[in-house]
Symmetry: C2
Subunit: 238 residues, 2 copies
DNA sequence: ACTGCGGCGATCCTATAGGAAAGTGGATCG
DNA sequence: CGATCCACTTTCCTATAGGATCGCCGCAGT
């Protein structure tokens, strides 16, 4: 039953840092929402599916364990993390409020680069939002468009974080970003606050340009609070 | 040269969750400062030293990689993370200021439990500080006392974080804690601000009790700013 | 009929072996 | 004498095999 004949010509992945590649694949699998929370993540199974040995899979899972996307029970294996409860949701928004306002405050005053990048990110977010609304008016919920919209939103906030010049805050933001993405999976049936979100992003961008009466921190605070309010309201209706 | 006769009676560790045990051992090794930054962390060398196979060592290193305590270069191996530069130091204090003030704000108003725990933590910190000063006056720098003092300080802040009721902020604090510990290793030659730190902790505790004119957030802000100022001044003198 | 228990399958966990890439030293040629 | 090339060593990286553990199903006993 030993078949050592195969020299394993690496057909699944092309010989470029296996562990990181496996990590990205599993991460993509998790973020795509194709696996339900609580589902088992068998090491050997994944290894066979990706045509690699269990070792890099194991390392990738260890990596993912620290992100909170998967949970590990000793001698029982890995599982997809359970969905966020109401308490975790509230804490997530609270933490995000702290980080985002701090990043906006530290990125003030904005230089020309930040203004430019913010404008581009805002425009992409607005256009993606228009396409989502357009599809929504046509009666269909396009998953690809929704994903693109969320990505544009994430990019907008990432611009602010990069501009704040603090690598630790950036890291924390990315750490929360995974949880945020997980939350969005739960309420992916449709985006209902495109108009408000786009308007609030515009307010943030304007504040960074020196327009309006609000500081960037205040504008960002209103945005995050608005997102929280609308999300909780939608969750309550669901 | 192969000695497979031994059934490997697990002499180094006693058969209880190898990977986590290895992780704690390496973490302790790193935090103890016995290894210099930039030093190589050879996988099989560590495996032989701990009398385990390379696999759990590898997993522990992956775990540590996400904490920022070790760095990995593809196909080159792991190394102890280089010491924090001045920019990283400034960003670390900035991030800590954000987190600590937010935690203090969220923990306000304080319940009886928080007041009690804070009082105990403050007392331990003060006593540890007194012992450090006492030893310092005697002309010796006791490493154990200094470590205990730092641990008491960390505990004091951990009380506030646990009381803020936000698991994500707690996680971020712990993440920064590793970097903070690393920074303290660099300036471990002596603690010079015991008096100020104890006084500021007392001010924070008093603010949580409703005494004084400052809010807990303001008191915590003054404390962190004070720590930053004194640390940078000491680094400048060094 | 219900509960305790022992075998069985699946999976995780650890160990060992072999192939590949990077660093190092010496030898050779200009 | 210096630079370059080559071979060697070390180490990482991946693959495979074996031991240990957990959950489950059937069975006996009360």
């Amino acid at each position: 039953m030993t078949m050592p004949s195969h020299p394993a010509p690496r057909r699944g992945v092309e010989r470029r840092g296996l562990r990181d590649h496996v990590y990205e694949l599993i991460l993509e699998l998790l973020l795509s929402g194709e696996v339900e929370p609580g589902a088992r993540l068998a090491i050997d199974t994944i290894a066979r599916q990706l045509d690699v040995s269990p070792t890099p899979v194991r390392e990738a899972l260890v990596h993912l364990e620290r992100t909170g996307l998967v949970t590990r029970e000793a001698l029982k294996g890995y599982r997809v993390a359970p969905p966020l409860g109401s308490e975790e949701l509230a804490e997530l928004f609270e933490a995000r409020l702290v980080l985002e306002t701090a990043a906006a405050r530290l990125a003030t005053p904005a230089g020309p680069d930040l203004v430019a990048q913010l404008g581009e990110a805002q425009q992409r977010h607005r256009e993606a939002g228009e396409r989502v609304v357009e599809a929504l008016d046509a009666g269909r919920v396009d998953l690809a468009l929704t994903t693109e919209y969320f990505a544009a939103d994430t990019d907008f906030h990432a611009v602010v974080f990069r501009a704040c010049g603090n690598r630790y805050l950036v890291g924390m933001s990315e750490s929360l970003g995974a949880q945020l993405h997980r939350m969005r999976q739960s309420a992916l049936r449709g985006v209902t606050d495109v108009h408000e979100a786009v308007a609030e992003h515009a307010a943030v961008a304007d504040a960074f340009r020196g327009l309006g009466e609000l500081t960037p921190e205040q504008a960002m605070e209103r945005h995050i609070v608005g997102v929280r309010t609308r999300s909780l309201a939608q969750a309550g209706r669901g």
